[in-house]
Symmetry: C2
Subunit: 240 residues, 2 copies
């Protein structure tokens, strides 16, 4: 970019792609760090996969990822209904982290779990709140003396959402889980993701009859919510 072109459009290209257990939008944690078991990696794309470009990163525990909300259709709205406000109160889009924003750029801080060079160049991360296949436009180290402002005022999102539902597994679900590779990690991912109660806020008072489903990693998970408990009724491996 030159100074002259600063007023005009700017084209960015993906430098990496997110590999995440979240294969659809429904159920993704609404912020990073809420589900430490949500592990995945950033697969660097050709031209950006040179180990020297990452030298020194091993001293940092967290990364910033600037990414594209690629599954949100490109529409933006001046006012949005954040889930934190129960989905029924509007705020301005620039007072929110909503995906429905001009330029469709997202920002997440992820825990950096290490670099691997056996399959191209991968940056392993946890605490993911990103959809599988998300395009990444930049990766920066988290610099705590600059980026951490613990006494900042957080407006309508001041408090960490601490409420968690209890998550129970049916016999069928437990048996299916036990047969899968990395059963423990998968159980951890399912229980921590569902404990956040992914149901839309306006549905949270609904009858217990309603069944929900989401794809997580290589399984389809189906559950109901009974008197404040999540019951995972069924886990079905995805045919691949």
């Amino acid at each position: 970019m030159s100074a002259e072109s600063s007023a005009g459009p700017h084209t960015v290209h993906p430098i990496a792609r997110v590999v995440s257990p979240y294969r659809e939008k429904f159920g993704i944690p609404r912020q990073p760090g809420l589900v430490p078991a949500a592990r995945g990696h950033l697969q660097m794309l050709p031209g950006f996969d040179l180990p020297p470009a990452f030298e020194g990163l091993e001293g940092f525990s967290h990364l910033w990822v600037i990414f594209g909300f690629h599954a949100c259709g490109g529409q933006w709205r001046s006012r949005v209904r954040p889930p934190r406000l129960g989905g029924n109160r509007e705020v301005g889009v620039f007072a929110s982290r909503s995906p429905f924003r001009p330029n469709g750029l997202g920002l997440s801080v992820l825990r950096f779990e290490g670099l691997e060079v056996a399959h191209g160049l991968r940056l392993h991360v946890s605490g993911l709140d990103l959809l599988d296949n998300t395009p990444v436009y930049d990766i920066k180290p988290y610099v705590p003396y600059v980026d951490s402002v613990p006494d900042a005022l957080g407006g309508f999102a001041s408090d960490r959402p601490d409420e968690r539902l209890e998550v129970l597994f049916s016999a069928q679900a437990s048996e299916c889980l036990a047969k899968l590779p990395d059963a423990v990690g998968l159980a951890d991912l399912i229980s921590h993701t569902l404990a956040l109660d992914p149901r839309p806020a306006y549905r949270q008072g609904e009858s217990e009859a309603r069944r929900y489903g989401m794809r997580l990693a290589e399984v389809d998970v189906r559950w109901r919510v009974h008197t404040g408990q999540v019951v995972v009724e069924e886990i079905v491996p995805v045919e691949t």
Copy 2:
């Protein structure tokens, strides 16, 4: 953006322009928040200047700005020499906040000082580390429970740079300052900016004879460094 296009280039458009006292690259603080006196605003561009799009932002004390390093020529390098390492040690570009990065996107947290609607829509900010006229691609609220990770490990940039030089003004400089509007604010901006010692690290052992200059707000400032003190020798209002 659609899911199909996520592998390809993505075009972003400026939504705002930075109005900053930093009119040239030399001398800009190397991170946001180091010079609280560095005040300016984000001038929202037509189409993005609707007050409803900012409703709720008044409850937040800090903003994220995703911007373009528009004066850096668009070249990126896999290895860079961060000023924090004295400018003589290389690290990977993704382990740094260097402007010479793929896609040329920057990220700064700024203190939000309030919204004004008298001259289009302006978001007043302080702690600027941005060049005047920088294109802004997104503005997000700083959400402390997500964005603040005080115990993160900061690699080679773990410590806040606390060293400051003493700044003194010559008689000429003081007299010139006194005649200008907002003399106190300008003196504060000059002294806090120069206290960070903007000289390139490799010059910091050089002879006291060398004179430096930078444009700050509406003045040209010229100074020397004598035995660890900055002496502002001359302040000249810019002809406009």
